[in-house]
Subunit: 305 residues, 2 copies
């Protein structure tokens, strides 16, 4: 799957992932109105609105981008109907030949991590049958519990030709509280990065490893160090745009081959129509606004090469 | 909710939580056979078997214990039907007046953490309506992303009278890889513990805070230090029994009032019938074996006071 991701990035010339993190407040009224008319102001109604909203954005952008990253929390809050909308979104994006990165940030130990890996990337046995549950292509994984928590994911990736991105340095303001703590002269995130590097070298696709890392766009100087520590890992970079990361600041996340990083934007794309810059599209044409925002993001990022 | 937990621990004289972490291999054949006859060897069939298995254990033990801890990964692997079985289990346990600790180990940032908090502990707005999704009483939370990730959970707990247990030192063998790294002379888990202590002091129920911590039974010397660092936090202790933690080793996790800790056992209780000690019950009577295992665990733990 890392090979497919790299190839699609080359084809589209767009190291860009669209974060499908729908908030109810983002969804245009014509969509919620229709969904509530059919299902009421229920979890089912919310889930239907989320799905229709996503579908509009995917239909308008899928030919421009290699990948999407649905954030499961935004679906989980709507319970079972919300998670069904997550599943439907994952399936639909795969039908559109997009690489789907499940932003699930799961992490536990042993058989529990194995169950999460089965849920999101693998298969589960029921009697003599094998089934898939959510079946994303990649998942994000939290490393706080150590390699006991990460290795079951890697094992499933190896079997199923999938991949993970391990949280190394996140984009949020308080990410430093624990991640930046200095251990033997180096911040913790570097130690985590070293571990990701070990895992990644043992699990290579063609050019890159299917064990990647998450490093926030908001800390480019740390991105530079981590790029060097983990040369074989793809870096998933959140925090561009709405969270304050700039294109110029993204340079250090890429390797000399122009590859090695994929930059996420969520709100900046899916809620583009609410920004002054794209207001002319109007709420009805929110998906066209998203398309234009993707085109502008690709141009912005490619300007650094 | 922390007050309810403390009161129920006092009433039952049992600082014990039963981990509802069903694996298909644990479930007696008469249950899977019936479920597969009705739903086939499908995700629905697996979910039905899990639910019936749980119901048997809850019916046989609910009067002895204050709380249960369903591990969501074990349900998530069966997709939407599995998560519906999780929800049904949570609801059923609440009807039995048990405190339900959702072992979800979620953690993200800002509005995403807020969405997880809404999913598991709070409410979500849909139009003019408020709905609950999974509605556990407590959730476990991963702190790697710092206070941006934890505070949205605390805020929902404050509003909804719920609680969290923050992962501080986990019970698994590799937990030390990052958690034990020494920062300014102290291991990282102590720094996390100090942060939990700050949060907990600001969010007190009657005697204890509704911001608790997870500290594994497998590291009693670390439990002792963390007990002192976080006097107001309840400690959820996994790793007793099957993972190797002993009753004697649990002493340091408790305060002088005999409170302050609640000890989890999963496999040791729910799969008791497969142990030599309880084999006489037979597979058909797996729930009676679980009841006896709970009685034995309570006696074992109370022997340290």
């Amino acid at each position: 799957m890392i090979n497919k991701l790299v190839n699609k990035i080359r084809q589209t010339q767009a190291p860009v992932v669209v974060g499908l993190d729908p908030m109810m407040s983002y969804i245009p009224e014509h969509i919620t109105k229709k969904a509530f008319a059919e299902f009421g102001e229920t979890l089912e109604g919310a889930a239907e609105a989320v799905w229709q909203y996503n579908k509009g954005i995917v239909d308008a952008t899928y030919d421009l981008i290699p990948a999407v990253k649905p954030q499961i929390a935004m679906y989980e809050q709507f319970g079972i109907p919300g998670l069904a909308a997550f599943q439907k979104t994952v399936q639909y994006c795969k039908e559109k030949d997009l690489v789907v990165i499940g932003d699930v940030k799961r992490g536990d130990i042993g058989s529990t991590s194995a169950a999460y890996a089965a849920a999101h990337l693998g298969k589960v046995s029921v009697g003599s049958q094998l089934h898939t549950a959510f079946d994303e292509d990649f998942a994000t994984v939290n490393p706080y519990l150590g390699s006991d928590g990460v290795k079951p994911f890697i094992e499933v990736c190896r079997q199923e030709n999938k991949g993970i991105f391990v949280l190394v340095k996140t984009s949020n303001p308080s990410s430093g509280e624990f991640q930046d703590k200095v251990v033997d002269g180096k911040p913790l995130y570097e130690w985590v990065g070293k571990m990701v590097d070990e895992w990644s070298r043992e699990h290579i696709g063609e050019e890159y490893s299917y064990v990647g890392a998450v490093v926030g766009a908001t800390y480019p100087e740390m991105g530079k160090v981590l790029r060097e520590i983990m040369p074989k890992s793809y870096i998933l970079v959140p925090g561009y745009g709405a969270q304050g990361g700039s294109a110029e600041g993204l340079k250090p996340y890429f390797n000399k081959d122009g590859l090695g990083a994929i930059v996420n934007s969520s709100r900046g794309i899916i809620c583009a129509y609410k920004q002054e810059q794209y207001a002319e599209f109007g709420e009805q044409n929110y998906a066209d606004a998203s398309r234009q925002a993707v085109l502008d993001m690709i141009e912005d990022i490619n300007s650094i090469f």
